[in-house]
Amino acid sequence: MKPESTDDVLAAELRALGRSVPTIEPEPAGTDLAAAVLARLADVPPPSASRWQVLRHRVGSAIGRRRRILVLIVALLFGGLGVPGVRAAVIDWFTFDGVKVHLQPAPGPSTTEPSPPPTAHGGSLDRARTLVAFRPVDLPALGPPDGVEVSTDHRLLSLTWNDANGTTARLDEFDGTLDYVFAKTAPGAEWTSVAGVTALWFEQPHEVVILDAAGNRRTETARLAGHTLIWELQGTVLRLEGDFTRDQAIEIAESAELLP
């Protein structure tokens, strides 16, 4: 066996070992830790403007440096509170690959019920694997998918799981480097983590729109989505939608495995 491949095998085993360590994280999602840190900083003088300018500047350079085309736009709406400039800067800064956090004016309260996720038709995972250019991900926690669909441009892979009443869960996957755009507007979203990796959880119903490459809304695709978790696994951006609690969604997400 060549030395390189021995190293690769060992590296993969060490990664698996690291992933298997139970997620040791402050609960819930760092709230207590953040409170403790803020309490300790309460007496610290306000940071000089230059500090925050550094942050803002870094937002610009980080985005400029990233050659990737943004594939997903997430609009976070902070209901009526107004968004301080610093907060906007820091939130913009908190992007993960393929995801841009966008701030928009708060809309009126939504009274509409979210629709169940659209069902994927036809196809098998084996076939889909050959059609997309990224490594697809399966969710063993949900069992084999009932529907597998690849978009006509081969950039979006969708898996769905059904029960007698219709589709219960949907997983959309796409390459974080591709120009494929989802837009979301949501009355709230929170940071969480999947196996130690940053994720976004949308508790409230929110509008999902697919944008074209130029960023224009394709309104015919707009629909109201339910609980959604967005995270990333080795470059593949994943969006899980279904009637889950946040913890259930995270548990399912942590079962994700890349197909060979």
Binding site: D7, L17, V21, G30, L41, T198
Partner: protein, 209 residues
């Protein structure tokens, strides 16, 4: 702190806390991981103005976490004692990790035990580089920042650490174990120790397989 800054910094803490706690735990903070991370965020706030232009935030934060974790063991006396006490806190985490998750079935409990045993036989330097690069899945550049080593050093140590670990996995009684005082350096024994940052009481052994 102004209210807007508080919110912004709280967001920053929430976003990076899970990875920071994970890093502290695996680098040897054990049950003190949250305290270490709390301290690190306080220091990071104080040091916001020292960001290097264009550098990413996460490795910078994790570097502070790694330093704070090291400080935790300062009272353990000599360097070798400190390193043993760091590993003593990390080992149980790795050895008792849950693995009933089907996604992790690739790693049998026997193999896990072998890996942890082999890691125990590595020098602290090699454990650190493998922990950052693979267990925490940081990239090479991040690993360099977190451990405060030049990028080339990360590359060479990573290479040697994998070699060494393969050797230990193949032969757990490998005589090149750094714990063995009879051996004080292989062919390239001191090649990457020029910065002197991590000599294990002068008994660091680097060996090309």
């Amino acid at each position: 702190m102004r209210a807007g800054d508080r919110d912004a910094y709280a967001d920053l803490v929430r976003r990076h806390a899970p990875m920071a706690v994970r890093t502290a735990s695996l680098l040897g903070a054990g049950a003190d991981a949250e305290d270490v991370v709390q301290e690190s965020f306080v220091k990071a706030y104080a040091g916001l103005s020292s960001f290097r232009e264009g550098a990413p935030f996460r490795p910078w934060l994790l570097q502070i976490v790694a330093n704070e974790t090291r400080n935790l063991h300062r009272s353990a006396g000599r360097r070798s004692a400190r390193e043993r006490s760091a590993w003593a806190r990390t080992e149980p985490l790795l050895a008792t990790a849950e693995h009933d998750d089907p996604a992790l079935a690739a790693l049998s409990s026997e193999r896990r035990a072998e890996l942890v045993r082999a890691m125990a036989g590595l020098s602290s330097t090699h454990r650190q580089v493998l922990t950052c690069r693979y267990l925490l899945d940081l990239d090479e550049a991040e690993t360099a920042v977190v451990l405060g080593w030049p990028r080339g050093t990360v590359k060479s140590r990573l290479h040697r650490a994998l070699r060494r670990m393969s050797g230990l996995l193949a032969d757990p009684a490998d005589p090149a174990d750094p714990a063995d005082p009879g051996r004080t350096g292989g062919r390239n024994g001191r090649a990457d120790l020029t910065d002197g940052a991590d000599l294990t009481d002068g008994k660091e052994v680097e060996r090309e397989a």
